[in-house]
Symmetry: C2
Subunit: 399 residues, 2 copies
């Protein structure tokens, strides 16, 4: 008899929080507002927060990760939020409405910062993004990050680089004041988007082996070191096909696929998760931004000999273009000639290229082949020489 | 000393026709309004239409293909056009302007028909498309073709299926009348988009070997059967990586790549053209349409055991969707489990998927891996399970 144990049940498709009864109709037992205190993997027992126990033959660890909260004074004041799950989102939305927020500060120029500054701005809230680092979304090339900062600027969202939050206090003009090493900022709402913390302690305590990254170690079938215990999602590692090693890569689509693979194996159909290549993307105002594979820094750290080329091309055919730009950066390995990674940015077509590059990385294609890939050319979608080809041909010259 | 011999020199990047002087500045000799009458491949001589001869060590055949013109009475009347090159386009444009055309009929529901009906409509010209076949762009699934016909209808462009043109005559109400087996149609301008005819006769006469398709046979370096004679573009064959055979596939991006490969080889840098997978796309009003690889019919003809699945998914994440549809059809080989082809259609994101599927075909990926490909997930660009994954998972069930 399958049990789901957790805090709440969220239905992302319908953007609602569900009751256990919704699931019991379908024969799934759900215990909400219940924690697993510990796991006895020898006896096959989980001890719950109400002191009862449940026996198991198969256990799936899907404990995910929590949004990190900066350890500064005032970090838990009313009006300071993190954003991790649907409950967080509904809570933030209610606050924005009820308190008629006019000013927001977002701490962190990562995905949460990029996606939420647009959402806040669309609600008419004056929004500022800051980061301790010199630029937002640090995994992207500095020239691409500049285009993002310009896009934020065009939309009246200031980005404050190298700014360290020190404390949050109650304000007078506004509900809150964020003190930083560069001065104070008024805010009615403060959102922290400063990364995640994997929830692997429960598994660790049960004697489940951790990987090098500190997340739960799994095999290609999502099995942990303990028979009968599986792990999926942001609490466990995943195999990176380009790096050829197990890494920690907490993204929602990977979690989904791992869940399916675990389910297939548990249900008796042996299935292996073929791994990832590090594909990712986001939208910020009118910019598409994507990346896949390894950056030069990562490639170096993993022992490759990275060579890179960056070009500014067009997302559509030249005769149709009206000033659009598409930046493409490619990284390849000098030793093997293989593509190692790519980044794209532009008003349109950036994600389209990252899709192609991701499949090229998946398949381990050499950069020479990337320069001649057969892509669905038509002027509304690219040139006869696509920006991918141009970047690859440029990179070939440097190999 | 390199010579270019041809009718005109077009510069597509700037959409102009160039003079020989533009090229002579850069040391390239150009003979326009000159035909090559025959080639003596033994002596290395081309005889020109002015009865002079030019010696060659290396000869590149880039004779392309001509737009076919229906062999019906009145096919060469003033106001009847084909569309192949920049000169054709400029001639048509001038006619539309000068004659103040109000009604257009396009014969042929292929790429030319789909792209030109939108262009005509945007000029305020009442436009009808007809075809002898039961639906437009016959290579796409009937259900997808229906979506295209609906899109034409929404834009007030009637599509007349199974309609055979019989004759063109001068009109009274309008400049021309197209007689068909289903009745007569008034038109001020008639455009024939009924396919191409490869120009391989000159090469054939010179003893250059033809491929099974009837186009010039080449190897991976674009060399023909005669040493020193290369062929590129719409006059020659190309290797299809999925079909694993040489085929005739006259598309502009392929021609471009073949030209580069021939140039590299001639210039002393041995380069092989890695072939194509059949990627193609077009836009018609608000629809993106793309295909890659083999259809079921082609797959059968080439000896595969095709199995297919079609799904209607979403081009973006479900919570952001506002009724958009994305159709994905995949074909795989039952024997090997490999992906053989794909088709997509939708208001957005169709080409993005065809890019991914094209690289998957390029790499010979099995359908199982297509179902787990790592794609750059973000809600503005797709679901955590992308439409590609959903279609592939559906197809897996049928294998």
């Amino acid at each position: 008899m399958p049990y789901y144990i957790g805090d709440v049940i969220t239905d992302y498709k319908k953007l609602v929080i569900r009751t256990p009864e919704d699931f019991q109709k379908n024969g799934i037992n759900v215990r909400i507002k219940t924690r697993v205190e510990d796991i006895d993997s020898q006896k096959g027992l989980v001890r719950l927060s109400d002191n009862s126990s449940l026996p198991f033959d198969i256990l799936v660890m899907a404990t995910g990760a929590d949004a990190a909260r900066l350890d500064i004074p005032g970090a838990d004041l009313d009006g300071v939020f993190v954003l991790r799950n649907l409950t967080d989102a509904l809570r933030l939305k209610a606050y924005l409405n009820e308190k008629e927020c006019r000013k927001a500060v977002i701490i962190g120029g990562g995905y949460i910062g990029m996606e939420m500054c647009e959402a806040m701005k669309n609600l008419g809230i004056q929004t500022t993004v800051l980061d301790v680092l010199p630029r937002p979304v640090i995994r992207w090339d500095a020239e691409f990050a500049k285009m993002i900062v310009d896009e934020l600027g065009k939309n009246k969202v200031p980005f404050l680089p190298e700014t360290r939050p020190l404390a949050i206090e109650k304000g007078i003009e506004s509900r809150l004041v964020l003190k930083t090493d560069k001065g104070a900022l008024d805010a009615d709402v403060i959102l922290m988007g400063v990364g995640t913390r994997r929830n692997a302690a429960l598994a660790k305590a049960a004697g489940v082996e951790m990987g090098e990254s500190g997340a739960i170690k799994v095999d290609f079938r999502q099995q942990t070191s303990r028979e009968g215990i599986y792990a999926v999602g942001d609490c466990c590692e995943v195999f990176h096909r380009v790096a050829q090693r197990w890494v920690y890569f907490p993204l929602g689509d990977i979690a989904n696929k791992q869940g399916r693979v675990a389910g297939q194996n548990i249900g008796g159909r042996p299935t292996e998760f073929p791994g990832i290549v590090g594909a990712q993307s986001f939208k910020v105002f009118n910019l598409e931004v994507g990346a896949t594979g390894l950056t030069e820094e990562e490639a170096l750290a993993y022992g490759f000999q990275p060579v890179s080329a960056m070009i500014w091309g067009l997302p559509i055919g030249r005769p149709m273009a009206k000033g659009e730009k598409l930046g493409v950066k490619l990284v390849a390995d000098k030793t093997t000639g293989k593509l190692l990674g790519g980044q794209c940015i532009g008003e349109k077509g950036a994600v389209q290229r990252i899709v192609g590059l991701s499949v090229a990385l998946w398949s381990g294609l050499p950069i020479e082949e990337v320069g001649y890939l057969d892509l669905p050319y038509a002027p509304p979608f690219g040139g006869a020489w696509d920006a991918i080809h141009v970047a690859a041909q440029e990179l070939m010259k440097r190999m």
